[in-house]
Symmetry: C2
Subunit: 406 residues, 2 copies
């Protein structure tokens, strides 16, 4: 439609190019841990796509990348869109990459439609959103906005003992975010809200408070045969009761509590463990609800540990309060999309929440997920719904990039 169109591959071509990267043949799930194998390949792909479109790519000190579109006449605070490329272990294809591919595809629509933006567009890729390598969710965005301290984060280690400080340069919060006036992140929905509402695309009202707590149960290693049951201090029992208690409390309170990660030492069949470390993921519809939930789980864990002769130490690894996305920006996006888009809360955390809390007006769009499953191979989205997401994102960006600012 215009000679300035970059004619990069379209949405479906880009999506097909990403599908094999980091995919396990065994499970069909994805292993895209940050700064490692598949994720490095995805980063190179992003830089290539940005280069192809003539977008200038900036890398910050925390591994975040941003591709800038600053055509003549564009000035003032930029509109940022994008997401992340890393996945949880054995995760789905959509969580993260859908937002990045949709951002590039939306950019292509803008160019093809001859949109002349009054302000810059930035397409961002945040690093370690899932926390699957260094254990802290939204680590790249938190470091970029200064919500996490580099002094603390630099010594985080992955499962192989590699420190974050050995992988990225680190330093002060990222200056590029100072040039951003609004963020719109498109994401696959991680539940069945849009399925129930029969809508391809939705918008987020905010994010439930959520956090991660590490429970270390320490007992005494012993022979699994020779040690009498009554002489043991077995931390596996303390942990097992805690996992059941967490599930029960979350059900009773209508909230969420999960123990999905466990490490046992020495983890031998014929050895009573010396230590069981387990990570609680808790979410609730209010900060007080979350605090009550975690306190009750911790109380029951401590009581059981005392009974087992084990000891318990609980460490809050990351705790995020409730996020309400900017009402003015949400209203503008809603208006741009014709007021037809349903609004629902996000129970998963996102870089969008980090940016909103750092004072950058933020909105999110969701694309329907027929299975409702996320962080797992069954995560999905239909092509038509994905293209509807690109369309909605392009429409919102067009409105935000042109005419008077907020």
């Amino acid at each position: 439609m215009t000679s300035s169109a970059s004619n990069g591959p379209d949405f479906e071509q880009m999506w097909s190019a990403l599908l094999p990267i980091g995919r396990s043949a065994a499970s069909g799930g994805y292993f895209r841990q940050p700064w490692h194998g598949a994720e490095v390949e995805l980063r190179a792909w992003f830089v290539e796509e940005a280069d192809r479109r003539g977008l200038e790519v900036e890398h910050d000190a925390f591994g975040n990348m941003v591709a800038w579109w600053r055509p003549d006449g564009a000035a003032g605070p930029a509109v940022l869109t994008g997401s992340h490329l890393d996945s949880v272990l054995d995760g789905g294809a959509f969580d993260g990459p859908l937002g990045v591919v949709s951002a590039l595809a939306a950019y292509d629509r803008l160019v093809e439609s001859g949109v002349r933006p009054d302000r810059p567009l930035a397409i961002g890729v945040f690093a370690e959103e899932e926390g699957s390598r260094f254990g802290r969710a939204c680590l790249g965005s938190r470091l970029a906005v200064g919500a996490a301290s580099w002094e603390d984060a630099r010594s985080l280690t992955d499962a192989d003992g590699v420190r974050l400080g050995d992988v990225v340069e680190g330093g002060a919060p990222s200056s590029w975010l100072a040039g951003v006036g609004a963020y719109v992140e498109l994401h696959v929905e991680q539940g069945r809200g849009l399925v129930d509402l029969d809508a391809a695309v939705g918008a987020a009202s905010g994010i439930w408070p959520h956090g991660r707590w590490r429970f270390d149960f320490t007992g005494r290693a012993d022979h699994a045969g020779a040690a009498r049951m009554e002489d043991r201090a077995d931390p596996m029992l303390s942990y097992a009761m805690t996992a059941l208690a967490a599930n029960k409390q979350a059900r009773l309170a209508g909230q969420r509590a999960t123990f999905g990660r466990v490490e046992v030492a020495p983890n031998g069949t014929n050895v009573v463990p010396s230590r069981v470390s387990a990570w609680l993921d808790a979410r609730a519809d209010s900060p007080s609800g979350m605090a009550d939930l975690v306190a009750e789980i911790e109380r029951q864990a401590a009581a059981r540990a005392e009974r087992d002769g084990t000891s318990l130490s609980v460490t809050a690894e990351s705790v995020t309060g409730a996020v309400s996305f900017d009402p003015v920006l949400r209203g503008r996006v809603d208006g741009l999309l014709g007021g037809a888009v349903p609004v629902l809360p996000s129970i998963a955390g996102h870089d969008a929440g980090v940016l909103q809390e750092a004072g950058i007006p933020t909105a999110m769009l969701f694309v329907r997920n027929p299975t409702g499953v996320s962080h797992a191979p069954a995560e999905s989205a239909g092509t038509d719904d994905c293209l509807a997401g690109v369309e909605a994102l392009a429409t919102a960006l067009t409105g935000l990039l042109t005419g008077p600012g907020e």
Copy 2:
């Protein structure tokens, strides 16, 4: 005392030489997995000690080693002594190596005392006794006697995916055992029996039946936040209840049941697991007691899995019936030791049990363990008690090697 004395290092010197090998500075425990690092070093040490004494070392196809003393005049079935050099993960110093070092020290006493054996002495080191690498306890001895099939065992894999068939040659059961008429294994006690009896050395009556069962709970991976509690199929819950049930049933029955090893997939903090695999170690004072115990644990696990919407598969990885050590040999050893040695059961399994079940008359000596702890850094034995063990072993071997056979 005699010019044929080999004058190798004495018990304490040998023991000191082994102490640093495979020891974790962090825990003080030992990591001596078979055919790997520390254990390879221990094997080389054994060959060196045998060479120093002029003993001929034979390696079989399964990684077992035997050092032969066949002086002039010695003929007929040999008396075998020894133990193993591998450890559980983060194990103690004594479980295994004490029997090997004591065997070499006892040999030295025999030589120094001018004993002229009528039959050969063999000092054996069995491979992968703990099952800490390939998951099968007493694997070396089981393969050697033909109680385990090489066809089945060759494809066992370790945590890194290395196959047993890539590590040892394998093949038919070992011919060297055909030349063995009796086995005496000295071992650190793995409970507090001798402490309570105030005795430095004891003898084993037999071994409790014991086994390992793998419990695979399969559910459905999902997002730890977005998936509603009631929509989940979380195998962690099924496992947690099973671990508690196993402990309770073992207490009620006066038996032993332990879940010491757990593997979670994908093991991410923000992911409901798709699978939890856990290994049950069960022991009982009778085969029917063990069968009842495991059946009840499996019944409760299956019921909970059904409630959780998960599925359960249970695999018996190794099951060993009750072993009674040869009464004639036990009687002879008791007589040689002056009838002063208390007799107690072993709840841990040993290569001695495998040889006994394969028709080789077998006896075991225990050395007092002040902590009663085993398979853990706190495992211990005092030097005086260790030397008393060497003395008892040398006395028993002298009697068994000289004069009329059984």
